[in-house]
Symmetry: D2
Amino acid sequence: MIETSSEVRVRYQETDAMGIVYHANYLTWFEIARVDMLDKLGAPYRDLEAQGYLLPVLEASLKYKKPAKFDDRLTVSASIRELPSVRITIHYEVLRGNERLVLGSTMHAFIGKDGYPVKPPDAFMAKISEHFPAIIP
Amino acid sequence: MIETSSEVRVRYQETDAMGIVYHANYLTWFEIARVDMLDKLGAPYRDLEAQGYLLPVLEASLKYKKPAKFDDRLTVSASIRELPSVRITIHYEVLRGNERLVLGSTMHAFIGKDGYPVKPPDAFMAKISEHFPAIIP
Amino acid sequence: MIETSSEVRVRYQETDAMGIVYHANYLTWFEIARVDMLDKLGAPYRDLEAQGYLLPVLEASLKYKKPAKFDDRLTVSASIRELPSVRITIHYEVLRGNERLVLGSTMHAFIGKDGYPVKPPDAFMAKISEHFPAIIP
Amino acid sequence: MIETSSEVRVRYQETDAMGIVYHANYLTWFEIARVDMLDKLGAPYRDLEAQGYLLPVLEASLKYKKPAKFDDRLTVSASIRELPSVRITIHYEVLRGNERLVLGSTMHAFIGKDGYPVKPPDAFMAKISEHFPAIIP
């Protein structure tokens, strides 16, 4: 299990005419938390791209419990709960203090520059695997 | 069953450094299809808000099959498959010609100006109900 | 002089907590008008990029007279008033019926794939030049 | 003269298919710098709104020197160079280390909840005035 957390402050640009954050922006905040997690794992997304890998989103889901508002200081936690294979699922929580505002997840696959799925880079898997119990045959 | 479809042309602003549409933008296109559907049902969202109703998103899910690119002309279909009660679920498909790019759904509830859930307005339910078979007791 | 006009319908996503359109979105609407203009000139931006040209923004300015709101149907006019040389300036007006909401302009240069400025492609200049009086020496 | 600076890290969502930051996003970063400046002046925008004031953008201008890219860590400086009267002009610089990427400014007016221009709140002007030399009659 890997868990990291990131800070977000709500921009006016992210609000809508209901006076709350427009719902699509949480996906962008999930991106922030994901990029931050990869940094903390020692496998920055910027470097993965430089090595010819992309990590597009294949699926996403969100549950909206309470709205965030302009200027709120939020915490976005990201966690990987199962050792990834070809696909990687990341779970997210957006919190304002102790209040859970939004829950969600994204599923990703590594693809190469030609657009086809590839195995995750070995160095990436090595870093991830440190956080999961060894599987003893 | 209600089904409508709307046209979207991809903006450069909606692309990202992978050269494809950033994944969060599909939620905005779902919004376009939803607003268009309400228009075609004779219950424009603009009017619902003027009457004191809001229709926030409670849940959303998306499956990304193929990426859209800059300047693509897309069709976004929206459908309501079950007569809504307190909650309304809308399903979406984003198509480029015959290719299905993205599938998804959003679930909504009506809330009043005080932020609390309310029953859908009667006029709205009357318009929706025309499209579903009468339930005979 | 070249002048074209394009239609935009305001998305909920484009509004902010003031209940009006967030000011940065007008730059995206200018993009829509610009792309549309290039289409109508017979030099689609998509094709220019395929030929290895990019047309980044070097300068932009905007004057906000009146706010646009959710669901407004707007017209965005784009005009080229002077025969472009290395730099191209495009002027814009955002209108709601007869009301002028926002005025602005963007200045662009063609750059090649290496990121350096280049002369506009000959075919592009030929199409533009048709709309300006010939300069007789 | 008032000058403050704020940090921004480039989101993938902010990039476009040219592989650089889409030009409209700099206006959003100007907003971040402006909100931060008001905080540091002791007049948070959130509080101004709560007191019934809005501070819409009347004019904006931008000069793009060099592009920002995904994951760049940027500094956005904001400065007020002249004591505001009914209108407030703020100047911005977006820097990556010592490189100046973008320069710009926005002009604002205070409006009341009815949408009409009003004088800036006295408490706000008092805080601003501390940073400018007293005008001796």
